[in-house]
């Protein structure tokens, strides 16, 4: 009995200490940067008739080059704070679903990515990379998951040659990073306080960067406006 009690107390103490430590670090070291990306131009979304695998791919699909949402927010852009270390190490996942890459842009730390095929037909993962070794691997219907390594920072274009309209991007970005949502907003959490460089990248509209002053424990807003090429 006494032994159990001792262990219990120890666990409680350790957990408490850990929580305290975590909150202090969070509060002292980091703030949130809310990145808003806007685009003034027209969206570029091509519609396309599908003539094969229609039972899986549908009869019509879209090629999403520039997706503009509410309030001129630019979706599928990647915002990052390269100076912020210790981003989540969760394994990135890209799925081939309905003959589309889901999500359109995956943000990941250098490391491994899980490539899924939920379509029950043949796809091939074909990456166009320069820093990382390029990949062109078949993923037949029975190969539901493949794991690949992308260890160098790079924005990697991903295509499928079987379905030529399929296009996705894997943003291998060190530091804290996130893709913008349909309103063009990305939240970067746990960015260390002080002057930080914030970068924004978009597959067709290019790159921009700004410096922001991040305050610990609060939300700093920064806005970008991407220009058409």
């Amino acid at each position: 009995m006494r032994k159990g009690l001792t262990i219990g107390t120890a666990v409680a103490l350790v957990t408490g200490a850990a929580m305290w430590f975590a909150t202090t670090v969070g509060a002292q070291g980091g703030g949130t940067v809310e990145v808003e990306v806007k685009y003034n131009g027209a969206p570029q979304v091509e519609k396309l008739k599908v003539n094969k695998d229609t039972e899986k791919c549908g009869t019509e699909t879209t090629i999403e080059k520039v997706v503009v949402g509410g309030n001129k927010g630019l979706a599928n852009a990647v915002a990052s704070a390269p100076g912020a270390k210790g981003a989540s190490k969760a394994k990135a996942v890209i799925d081939q679903h309905g003959c589309k890459f889901v999500p359109h842009v995956v943000v990941m730390q250098p490391g491994e990515i899980e490539i899924k095929n939920s379509d029950d037909i043949l796809h091939n993962i074909h990456t166009y990379s320069t820093a990382n070794p390029s990949i062109n691997k078949a993923q037949p219907k029975f190969k539901k998951v493949m794991t690949e390594k992308l260890e160098k920072p790079e924005f990697v274009k991903v295509t499928c040659d079987v379905h030529s309209w399929m296009l996705g991007w894997v943003a291998v970005v060190p530091g804290v990073a996130a893709a913008t949502d349909t309103n063009g907003v990305a939240k970067l959490e746990n960015v260390p306080a002080g002057k930080q460089k914030i970068e924004v990248w978009h597959e067709t509209l290019g790159k921009q960067e700004k410096e922001v002053d991040v305050k610990a424990g609060s939300v700093t807003k920064v806005s970008f406006e991407m220009k058409g090429k």
């Binding site: 993962i125 062109n136 691997k137 078949a138 037949p140 040659d161 079987v162």
Partner: protein, 535 residues
């Protein structure tokens, strides 16, 4: 095979000799140490080093590691890039460009495009990573790339070809920083009924047909969209024509392409994407079973004699049994607009005749059945060309559809229009012939046309030949893949070939031999009887 073997072996042999003949190294020193009460281990080592067995083992080890080192340094040691540069300028730059970017003067006429060496991406490699072995590059230079404009350069001395390998690598120094990693193929599985069955199963499971087509004739639904990494359209391989495989037609070649893909093209690597590693070999065996290793081209087309009716149906049993003659076709490059990259490279002819009719059965691969929009695509078509009169003279009309002075007769078929006849005085002057009682039927399945064209054996009307048995009759073929934009002078063609209607076989062959046999027997019987009587 490798020219440097001799050179590399020499220093190793010298080293071995030194190793074996010289006194074991350091023996003296060890003896001194033993005297000065050195640790026991030295004593043992010293004793060991005097043993010839140990010396041999050490020498072998040193030699092996030296040869490994030599292998690794092949990349740098084999060719002289500077010497290669001069040869490149003379032999390669015309297509591949002075800067190695694939933009030589001839590049715009070529499909597929010449390799751009500046990316360091190579289709054919026996490695698990992107970097090809030097041997891979050497092999392509030596053997060329079937089905492309890259000819074999075996005419150049080995040394020149190695120098070229060294030179083309300098166009992409970064790509060759990484060492090539040899691809390990799964254990070979030889072909058998079970293996072929499994291969077909896998062929369907991994959906090879998406590009290569159900029967492998490069007619898959994704075919029209395929592009290489430079953005140029690229055609999938026709798996029934192994002799056009870019990296060779051997089983190992095919298994390697399947395992690590064809870099820079849509063909992905399948080594990790088959159910079991040995499936690579089952697939290989199945692909090999789809067509012959090389075509056996005919020199003379035989038109067989029959008393039966000649079936219109191209899929009739009659035609399956008929003798097939494979005829190669080339692009038309004499008059503008020229066809430098013809699609149809082979037509197989079967032919038969009876008293009243003659029929030609033609088979050719075309990845799409096209009626054409008249702008970018045109109707698929084919024609057989004959002189308007068959004479004993060796003079024939100009093979490219005749000329102003001498016409040719065309028995032709066009998608949407069917079979017809025409008279031509050159490719720009074609006049249809009416009322000739021609007929025929076409079938298109899985990337292949089968066509029967029939007409009266005896000419009905002017400008048409009569087909007589046992007469050498000039014939030529022209074909158009309208889906690839071929029409008019943009065609595939042959020069004059000959066909011959086989002589009808009479029934006498069934009568004369038995009669002769009976007479001989009777004569023998008489001789024997006469001899018996004389005794």
């Amino acid at each position: 095979m490798r020219p440097t073997n001799g050179r590399r072996r020499a220093p190793i042999m010298a080293h071995l000799r030194r190793c074996l003949l010289a006194p074991p190294c350091g023996v003296g020193g060890l003896r001194r140490r033993r005297r000065s009460s050195a640790p026991r281990i030295w004593t043992i080592l010293g004793a060991l080093s005097r043993s010839w067995v140990v010396r041999l083992v050490i020498c072998a080890w040193v030699a092996a590691s030296l040869s490994l080192a030599a292998d690794a340094s092949d990349v740098f040691a084999q060719g002289d890039a500077n010497a290669g540069k001069a040869i490149y300028a003379r032999k390669c730059a015309g297509c591949h460009g002075e800067k190695g970017d694939g933009k030589g003067a001839a590049a715009e006429l070529l499909v597929p495009k010449p390799r751009d060496f500046t990316k360091g991406l190579y289709k054919i490699r026996t490695t698990a990573n992107k970097v090809p072995m030097d041997q891979d590059l050497f092999k392509i230079i030596t053997d060329g790339m079937p089905g492309t404009s890259m000819p074999p350069w075996a005419v150049l001395p080995d040394k020149d070809r190695w120098n070229l390998v060294a030179y083309i690598k300098t166009f992409a120094p970064d790509a060759f920083k990484e060492a090539p990693k040899k691809l390990d193929l799964p254990k070979d599985v030889s072909s058998s009924e079970t293996s072929l069955k499994r291969g077909k199963e896998m062929f369907e499971a991994i959906e090879c047909h998406k590009c290569h087509g159900t029967e492998g004739r490069a007619d898959g639904p994704s075919r029209p969209e395929l592009k290489d990494e430079w953005g140029f359209p690229v055609a999938p391989a026709n798996l029934t024509k192994r002799w056009t495989f870019r990296g060779g037609a051997s089983r190992t070649d095919i298994a390697t392409r399947l395992a690590n893909g064809v870099l820079g093209t849509p063909m992905p690597a399948f080594l990790d994407s088959v159910e079991k590693p040995e499936d690579i070999w089952h697939l290989t065996n199945y692909i090999v079973s789809l067509g012959p290793e090389r075509p056996r081209y005919a020199t003379l087309i035989t038109v067989s004699a029959t008393k039966d009716a000649l079936p219109d149906d191209p899929n009739a049993e009659f035609w399956k049994k008929a003798t097939a003659s494979a005829i190669p076709l080339m692009g038309q490059v004499i008059v503008d607009p020229r066809n430098f990259n013809p699609v149809i490279d082979l037509v197989t002819i079967r032919a038969a005749y009876n008293d009243t009719e003659v029929a030609f059965h033609l088979t050719w691969d075309d990845p799409s059945e096209t009626k054409g929009d008249g702008k970018q695509t045109f109707p698929d078509a084919i024609s057989l060309q004959f002189p308007p009169q068959i004479t004993a003279s060796t003079e024939r009309p100009y093979f490219l559809m005749g000329d102003a002075s001498e016409a040719v007769y065309l028995l032709r078929w066009q998608q949407g229009k069917g079979v017809g006849e025409a008279s031509a005085n050159g490719p720009a002057k074609i006049a249809p012939l009416q009322g000739g009682e021609v007929s025929g039927k076409v079938a298109y399945t899985n990337g292949q046309y089968r066509l029967v064209m029939k007409r009266p054996r005896i000419a009905k009307g002017e400008g048409r030949p009569t087909f007589q048995p046992a007469v050498f009759t000039p014939v030529a073929i022209q074909a158009w893949d309208g889906g690839a934009g071929e029409s008019g002078t943009r065609m595939s063609l042959t020069s004059w070939y000959y066909l011959r209607l086989e002589e009808p076989q009479s029934n006498r062959r069934f009568v004369i031999p038995p009669v002769v046999a009976i007479l001989t027997l009777a004569a023998m019987f008489l001789v024997v009887r006469a001899a018996n009587r004389a005794r």
